[in-house]
């Protein structure tokens, strides 16, 4: 589906991450694109290729879709040089989503790190727009330094809104005015995450190192593996479970994922 770039916001001070706001060229496409938080789409730049990027905007935000893109390769590098008004394409929404039906009426802890936070932003906006469907909401989000946090204005706005527990952290900073936590995400998780119970779910999304160290913390706190939800990344091309690239065991990350519970992951062959 063709889209036009409506706005580009540079999110981080190293300029490696930009959030693109896309507006659909055709109204029917916009109506057909109804997505759920947790899904991704293939962004297509003719002449360069496609990239699978998580959808950063929630389905409750109408009129546009947002993606936060990291400058990593051929297509993303070209995208970072594009201007407002340029035309691109989107294929989607693809993949499965965070299990919103299961999460209704429950406590949700969102644990994110670095720029994996984009689909988590979609989730938070969605939950806040449907606030009464959820009980307690906590967000633990960290990055290496303040300048590398995504969506900083929104983070502050959510904190001010009140009925959501925001625990922002950075690995380290020289900023004397920094009013939030300092420490790695796993450490903060240990301190601030709500206790485990069958009605509390954790959505964990971040770089492999963060997940490797956060998992033992959640285990210690007693979170059941069925209550831990992860989102995986893999090299993808077709995004619809046909080209065979992104499989883990008999599951395709693009079609049967990218969202899996930890219990499901435990039953899949160990290559990640």
């Amino acid at each position: 589906m063709p889209v036009r770039i409506d706005e580009i916001v540079t999110e981080t001070e190293d300029k490696m991450l930009k959030t693109f706001k896309f507006v659909f060229l055709n109204k029917e496409d916009e109506e057909r694109f109804q997505h759920k938080a947790g899904q991704f789409a293939e962004l297509s730049v003719t002449g360069k290729g496609e990239v699978p990027i998580g959808i950063a905007s929630s389905p409750t935000e109408k009129g546009y879709v947002k993606f936060t893109v990291n400058k990593t390769g051929l297509v993303t590098r070209y995208m970072h040089n594009m201007k407002v008004g340029d035309i691109m394409g989107i294929r989607g929404p693809l993949g499965n989503w965070y299990p919103w039906e299961t999460l209704e009426g429950k406590n949700v802890v969102i644990i994110g790190g670095g720029f994996a936070f984009s689909t988590l932003r979609a989730s938070i906006v969605y939950m806040l727009a449907n606030r009464d469907k959820f009980k307690e909401i906590h967000v633990i989000y960290g990055s290496r330094s303040p300048g590398l946090l995504l969506y900083r204005d929104e983070l502050a706005a959510w904190e001010a809104a009140g009925d959501i527990g925001m625990h922002i952290t950075v690995d380290g900073t020289d900023d004397p005015d920094w009013k939030y936590n300092i420490g790695f995400v796993p450490t903060i998780t240990e301190k601030k995450a709500p206790p485990a119970d069958p009605d509390t779910y954790a959505i964990v999304c971040g770089p492999p190192a963060m997940i490797r160290f956060t998992q033992p913390v959640l285990d210690n706190l007693g979170y059941a593996h069925d209550n831990i939800i992860n989102s995986l990344e893999k090299r993808m091309k077709c995004g619809i479970g046909i080209c065979g690239r992104c499989n883990i065991g008999d599951k395709y990350v693009c079609k049967d994922g990218p969202v899996f519970t930890l219990n499901a992951l435990n039953h899949m062959p160990g290559e990640k």
């Binding site: 990291n70 893999k234 091309k237 077709c238 065979g244 899949m268 062959p269």
Partner: protein, 347 residues
């Protein structure tokens, strides 16, 4: 199920008649070397004397390099930067001389390209435009093991007509589907033939199959346990990751999507790709979940002999054609691997 007798002259006349209404495909010698499946030029006759081609017949339905879309990058054109569909020729195709293994492979691959959620139009339209005229194998090769994976030298899966050599350049043709019946009628093949002789030839061929592989325990094994088995390093050591196995295999389907631009216009194409290449799973961050050779070797065999079994509960993703065994430069044998996996007992 009708059986038609075709003698040498009727065969030649029939081919000439079909040229008008079908695009013809079949094995032809390329550059005087071994035959490969190609589109036949006018007047060409498919070479049915070969045991089997080096590369499988999958290139007829699923070409090695296929353009999917085109686009213009010229900002003066109205739909610049937008993908345009290109015209494809899905007029009826007659595919001659495809062996039962390759034909059955198409059905295996179909589960991937034409599932209930998604239908790949390029593959599916191409497949549906083909009429498959198979050629039964009276003398299975030493590396053939189709009977061990649920198929056989006279198997009918995926075929519309099955030709059996009846001597003196003639055939007995078994009509399997309506498409096949229509083609036989257009070719003017209508003499009644004897079905019983096909049966006895079939039994003889199946008895000649010397290679047997056991696959019965694969579905019962635990995928994670097989994945962590200790024999993968030994199996994968010799592998050169050359990719020949995947390219010659009729059931391997992985592909890559690429954009290529020349001046101001470009195409988005898809090409065969192989899980044997290190680049296959290389992520943008630089992380590669399968950096080592034996992990990729493991992936290929687990996918074919275990993941496919689990996913579709329809047997292994292998038709026993034996091409990978013959062409592998370091003699990694899927039959040996399959036996190892089938008999594996975790400690």
């Amino acid at each position: 199920m009708k059986v038609i007798k075709i003698d040498k002259n009727q065969w030649a006349e029939g081919l000439a008649k079909l040229e008008g209404s079908y695009r013809m495909f079949g094995p032809v010698a390329v550059q005087g070397k071994f035959p490969e499946f190609r589109e036949l030029e006018k007047g060409d006759v498919p070479n049915l004397d070969v045991p089997n081609t080096h590369l499988s017949a999958k290139s007829v339905v699923y070409p090695q390099s296929e353009v999917m879309f085109e686009y213009s990058l010229d900002e003066h054109i109205e739909d610049h930067h937008l993908l345009r569909e290109i015209e494809k020729d899905y007029s009826p195709r007659a595919v001659f001389g495809i062996r039962p293994c390759d034909a059955a492979a198409n059905l295996l691959v179909k589960r991937n390209f034409d599932s209930k959620e998604y239908r790949d139009p390029y593959w599916a339209d191409s497949f549906e435009s083909c009429v498959f005229i198979g050629h039964a194998c009276e003398n299975p090769g030493g590396t053939c093991f189709c009977t061990s994976v649920g198929f056989g030298p006279f198997n009918e899966d995926g075929l519309d007509l099955l030709l059996v050599n009846s001597g003196k350049g003639g055939f007995l043709a078994k009509v399997i589907t309506d498409k096949g019946a229509v083609l036989a009628k257009s070719a003017g093949w209508k003499t009644e033939g004897d079905a019983a002789s096909i049966e006895s030839l079939k039994k003889q061929a199946e008895a000649k199959m010397s290679s047997k592989v056991n696959t019965d325990q694969l579905s019962k094994k635990d995928a994670t346990a097989l994945f962590d088995a200790p024999f993968w390093e030994d199996i994968g050591f010799a592998c050169l990751n050359c990719g020949t196995c995947t390219y010659s295999c009729p059931t391997c389907w992985c592909f890559d999507i690429q954009d290529e631009v020349k001046n101001k216009s470009g195409v988005r194409m898809r090409n065969w790709d192989s899980c044997m290449y290190p680049l296959f799973t290389l992520e943008g961050s630089g992380h590669n979940p399968r950096p080592q050779k034996h992990q990729r070797v493991r992936q290929r065999f687990m996918h074919k002999l275990k993941y496919y079994v689990d996913k579709y509960q329809a047997g292994v993703q292998c038709v026993g054609c034996g091409r990978c065994v013959k062409l592998c430069p370091v003699n990694i044998d899927i039959r040996t691997v399959c036996e190892k996996m089938n008999s594996y007992q975790p400690a």
